[in-house]
């Protein structure tokens, strides 16, 4: 019995850590290229919504996944424009995305499904296999692969070198003949695709419906994870499992406490853990030019 609880806690950890790790890796790419997108949460939430909606319409979760992919591209282009040619304030834009996604998705639920706060159930993506009656998602091996490949791309290829130069000193990158704007656009699109797919995972793989605010701040925890991981994908993988553990623990403890204790009490666990982790690592230094617009001449 205890053994089963442990196993399910571990599987839960794997499950909850996936969106955190994917989100953090996307943001690592962003900041390494000199972009700071704190709208992870919003893009994720939107991705979850659009994936469920697409799946519901087509009765096919792969169509939902495709929609989320397209939504990620669109958000990436928008944010790419803001952080390059438009020279907007990236923090304000990120907050804007979060607020918009929250309001828009909540508003759309009754318009589409006629219910408040949650959608109809839809078909989920097929699982890789079942373990002790728990689904193991395709996203799990893909996430591990993403972390490993990201690390190789960032540190062992010329594309990684160029991307990182844009986040450290865009002037130097420019002088070396690298198009800073192009790198930032591409990076923004790539990272937003990741955020959006992380959301799709939550909507049509982990769960089978859209619930308002269902990302529950995981985009923000991913942001903290970036710092915790010192802007390194492999550390984000490890750190994500740690953060995911507390997220899974929250569900377990919530279930164990049963009624009588307000659900918000166990729900605080992952956030408190996040704050404690960040306090523990103290001051860190990210890419020098992250979040700063690049202006030539």
């Amino acid at each position: 019995m205890n053994y089963l609880i442990l196993a399910s806690l571990l599987i839960g950890t794997l499950r909850t850590s996936i969106p955190l790790i994917i989100g953090a890796i996307g943001e690592i790419f962003n900041e390494r290229a000199g972009i700071t997108n704190i709208g992870i949460e919003g893009v994720m939430l939107f991705g979850a919504f659009i994936a469920v909606y697409g799946t519901w319409l087509a009765q096919n979760p792969f169509i939902g996944l495709l929609w989320a992919l397209l939504s990620g591209i669109a958000w990436g282009l928008i944010f790419g424009a803001i952080s390059t040619h438009l020279r907007g304030d990236q923090i304000v834009a990120g907050i804007g995305i979060n607020v918009f996604a929250m309001g828009f998705t909540e508003m759309m639920i009754p318009l589409i499904w006629g219910t408040y706060g949650y959608s109809e159930s839809v078909n989920r993506l097929p699982p890789l296999f079942q373990l002790y009656g728990e689904r193991i998602s395709y996203f799990l091996p893909l996430t591990v692969l993403l972390a490993v490949l990201s690390s190789i791309v960032l540190y062992r290829t010329k594309w990684g070198l160029r991307l990182r130069s844009c986040g450290e000193n865009p002037l130097a990158a420019d002088a070396a003949g690298i198009s800073v704007y192009k790198v930032r656009y591409l990076t923004s699109v790539f990272s937003s695709i990741l955020f959006s797919l992380a959301g799709a995972y939550m909507g049509i793989d982990w769960n089978d419906s859209f619930v308002k605010e269902m990302t529950g701040g995981r985009g923000f925890i991913a942001l903290a994870l970036v710092i915790f991981a010192n802007w390194k994908p492999l550390l984000a993988l490890a750190g994500g499992l740690l953060f995911g553990f507390f997220d899974a623990l929250q569900f377990r403890i919530g279930a164990a406490l049963g009624v009588g204790v307000p659900p918000q009490v166990p729900q605080m666990i992952p956030y408190i853990a996040t704050i404690l982790f960040l306090l523990a690592i103290g001051r860190v230094r990210g890419p020098s030019a992250a979040g700063k617009p690049f202006v030539k001449e």
Binding site: R162, E168, N169, A172, A176, G177
Partner: protein, 512 residues
Amino acid sequence: MRDVIVLMKDIHKVYPDGVYALRGVDFELRNGEIHGLLGENGAGKTTLMRILYGQIKPTSGEIFIKGNKVRFNRPRDAIKYGIGMVFQHFALVHAFNALENIALGMEPSKGGLLNLKEVEDRVRELMERTGLKVDLKVPISRLSVGMRQRVEILKLLYRKVDVLILDEPTSVLSPIEVKELFRTLSKLREKGKTIVLVTHKLREALSICDRITVLRRGKKVATVKAREVGPEDLAKMMVGREVLFRVGKLKGRTGKEVLKVSNLWVKGDLGTYAVKGLSFTVRGGEIFGIAGVEGNGQSELVEALFGLRKVERGSITFKGEDITNLSVKEIRDRGISLIPEDRLGRGLIADFTLTENAILGMHYKPPFSKGFRLNLEESKSFARDLIRKYEITALSEDVPVKFLSGGNQQRLIVARELSRGPTLLIAFQPTMGLDVSATEFVRNGLLRMKSEGRAVLLISSDLEEVVQLSDRMAVMYEGKFMGLGRPEEFSTEEIGLMMGGLELHEVKSGNS
């Protein structure tokens, strides 16, 4: 013509903001020479070279490389034709090591992965041939300035350029590093490279260059063989004659000594001394001017005087009281005002209104402040007064100053500082970038201060301004005064020589 590798013909450049930086410059570079590009601040040296490097486009004019007409849209184009440039402010990624910096933008790959080993082999070979030794594996942030410069040069050699442009390469180096750099440049010349050395230092130009082109105010004065000229000739060309007309100066009555600086030593941002043992005094009723090319320690001197930078050695005395290393507030409260060089950095707060800027620095005192509260009415009427008296063009006293023109911003600063009635006014580049009427206005303000018996310290790289306004002047070079005296005691040529780094006694005895 034989061996001409670069030919720039009738180059004009007007910057987007209307500055006419180059007015028809011809420039010729021959294969295998070290060519000096000499001129005062703002002569257009950097602009000309940025055009050759493809970083900016000329407004008109033609460029030929080995006889072929070219059009560069970006530095990469210039590099393809074998032309590379090292900027005054290096373009290096501090978090990367030298190898990564050198490879950036031209990275060899093997099986999809970055092949830094290949870069290293090639760079080691280059280091062997040129004597430019650098630690390739530590982050740039841990290298000295001289080492960083070597990385920049290696970066160009790695890109196989034939023409190296170095913009004021010695301004950040210690004397020993300068010697090493010159040794390297000679070696590169032996290997057949062509080098452009941008500088304002006469002796440097003469010691290493084969030919020298002198620019003045966006025009080419001449191209000469270094062997055939002396520093006097160059100084004359650099400064020109027509600029130094002298106005009859009001003989103000000079009063008591107000500021006394003795043996002042101040460090620059790089941790080396930028001000090296300066001593001078400024009296009431006089303007003391400090001329010299920018970046010879003027900023550090001003910051030290105003409490913005630590004095390492020596003392600053104001009206008999030692004010060395006091805080800015304490110094201001004693009656010293500053017109800073950086208008929107230290002079004004761009998003604040005229009113708020007008009382800045006095905002905590009556009548502008009552208890905890600002007295807005009083402040506004004060601002309106300034607008009227100093002819500031603005819609109202409530507009943020970022919407004012540069000239009106400067008028506001001058108005504010003069209205405080300071005993000593430090004016640092007070007319830089201003139009004629604003310039006139600021200069008249300084003269009025003097006629009221106040002391004025004017630090400017505009030589004409210093000569015209000052009662006494000094020429600053690498943190020291090359000479000090009354402007009319110096000839144009002598001032030019001092600006180029020769001391007055060397100048007067007529050798170099």
